[in-house]
């Protein structure tokens, strides 16, 4: 079901017209209500008069996470506190959290985009939603909650944790939709199997987000819980979950373009990339009042595609997040993301997903070595085929990334395992 057909299926020209109007209004609003944005625009010599169409967005200043931290707590708000009806904050593992403020209209927008998300996953007012995202300052719980209520579904605000209780409610109340992080979904699935409750479930839909997950993980969740799993993407700085959502095609995520305008830029030059290329996702809110953001650099890497979707929605789609621009390497002038190398290695069944990238500089030329572990079960005694494996990986990297890497096959378990965030790159160049 399509929740808001007139917007979600709006033709490109009409959408552009709407984006032109909404961007103009947003720029006007922040210029007159946010000292922060006014001074940023003045530094660039831009006034609201200069913004006529959505293409003029490139003249506006970028916003980054440190802007929010530096102006903690309310420095980026563009509405007086009397208009702000809700505050959320991201957990901020380093330093101060970042805070977002919502007006009544912003909350309505948020509920609307979440209702679209759930409708795109086949849910209706007849569904029973178990919201197992954390409730509180985190946007996940309340975001899903209000979206499901707007849809007209019955909502169980169970919040995160207490796995046994989750399973009990799921069976007793007959929950048909589950909202939580993908890793918690897998954890729950295992608990359900351990408790032998899998046959008592009525679960059909799952909406997962707030952390990166792979297609393999999606299939595993789908198999273990016997549901269809959908992606939700979002960030507190922009609105929370609901910036983009996957549909029945389960391929990419439709961006709610009538509220959030996406750009993809080169993380170094900050210039737009060639359409379809991978770069950093930049989002501008074009309807928000409480805390609109202009050209917010998400640091998330993805690409956009405008192909027609089988679901009928006309919103542009973004691919799954491929990594973070903070991890980017520049090798021989080419932007290389470790996640690109990882996806190539995953294509080859003969290698394990354990790798390490070494970058160095010899005679003023960058060297790029990819060490990857051989899977013991795929080792063959034949030197030629082992050498060919390395060459085939090198060719694939060259075609995906655009530069030559030297692939070195190494012994299993020779690459250091790390608990938590893996360190997969050693850059020995002394460039600074």
């Amino acid at each position: 079901m399509i929740w808001n057909e007139s917007n979600e299926c709006m033709g490109r020209e009409e959408m552009r017209g709407m984006q032109n109007r909404r961007l103009r209004a947003t720029v006007e609003h922040v210029y007159h209500n946010s000292p922060f944005y006014r001074s940023k625009m003045q530094e660039l010599g831009v006034t609201p008069m200069d913004i006529e169409t959505i293409d003029d967005i490139v003249r506006l200043p970028f916003t980054v996470k440190t802007d929010l931290r530096d102006n903690y707590p309310f420095g980026l708000f563009s509405a007086p506190m009397s208009e702000i009806v809700r505050l959320h904050a991201s957990s901020g593992t380093t330093g101060k959290p970042i805070v977002a403020g919502y007006t009544r209209k912003d909350l309505n927008t948020w509920s609307e985009v979440m209702a679209r998300t759930f409708a795109a996953g086949g849910c209706t007012r007849n569904d029973i939603f178990q919201v197992a995202y954390g409730y509180g300052l985190f946007t996940g719980g309340l975001g899903a909650h209000y979206g499901a209520e707007l849809l007209g579904a019955s909502v169980i605000p169970v919040s995160s944790g207490n796995t046994e209780k989750q399973v009990q409610l799921m069976t007793d109340f007959g929950s048909t939709a589950l909202c939580c992080t993908p890793s918690y979904a897998l954890y729950l699935a295992e608990a359900i199997h351990e408790m032998g409750a899998q046959n008592k479930l009525k679960l059909k839909h799952g909406f997962f987000g707030a952390e990166p997950w792979t297609d393999e993980m999606r299939r595993e969740i789908e198999n273990k819980l016997n549901i269809k799993a959908y992606d939700i993407f979002g960030l507190t700085e922009v609105i929370g979950p609901g910036v983009s959502y996957s549909c029945e095609s389960q391929y990419g995520m439709h961006i709610n373009e009538d509220h959030f305008f996406p750009e993809i830029v080169d993380p170094v030059s900050l210039k737009p990339v060639v359409p379809g290329q991978v770069g950093e996702l930049v989002l501008t809110t074009i309807t928000k009042e409480g805390m609109p953001v202009l050209r917010y650099r998400t640091k998330d890497l993805t690409s956009l595609f405008y192909d027609e979707c089988s679901c009928g929605r006309k919103f542009v789609r973004m691919r799954k997040i491929m990594g973070r621009s903070d991890d980017m390497l520049i090798i021989r002038g080419v932007n290389v993301f470790p996640s690109q190398i990882e996806s190539v290695l995953l294509e080859f069944g003969e290698t394990a997903p354990h790798y390490h990238l070494y970058v160095d500089r010899e005679n003023n030329t960058d060297t790029f070595d990819v060490h990857v572990e051989v899977r013991p079960e795929n080792f063959t005694d034949d030197m030629t085929s082992m050498l060919n494996l390395g060459k085939r990986i090198e060719a694939r990297i060259a075609s995906v990334v655009g530069i030559h890497a030297h692939v070195k096959l190494v012994e299993p378990r020779s690459i250091e395992r790390s608990m938590g965030k893996a360190v997969r790159v050693t850059d020995k160049r002394k460039l600074y």
Partner: protein, 142 residues
Amino acid sequence: MIIKQLSIFLENRTGSLTGVTQLLGKAGINLSAFSLAESSDFGILRVILSDPEAARKLLTENGFTVTLSDVVCLFVPNTPGTLAEALQLLAQNNVAIDYMYAFAMKDDVARVVIRPDNINRCIEILQQSNLQLAKASEMYDF
């Protein structure tokens, strides 16, 4: 007549051969023959040893990447032209050789380990021509 050869993936760095041989030595596994194929980054050590299955288990448990493959071992008297004769037979019958290596014992008869593309055909051809092949037991245990 099929002999189990153990192949071990080794990174090209100092000490990697020492590790394997020490491990086998401590377990009392004797090496009858070996050859090392190398590239700039890694090598494949191919060995014939007293207990291939035990060696495979031991090395796998210790984190090595190994595989067992089938080879034949041909006895070649130490006289000019005998090896050529055997190889010609195989070529005439379209049996290709992936690799081979030789070693000698005290008895003045060279042993040539052959890894052919079609091992059963290889054995058949050599035996029909009365060329002598080693039995597995002879190779594992001297």
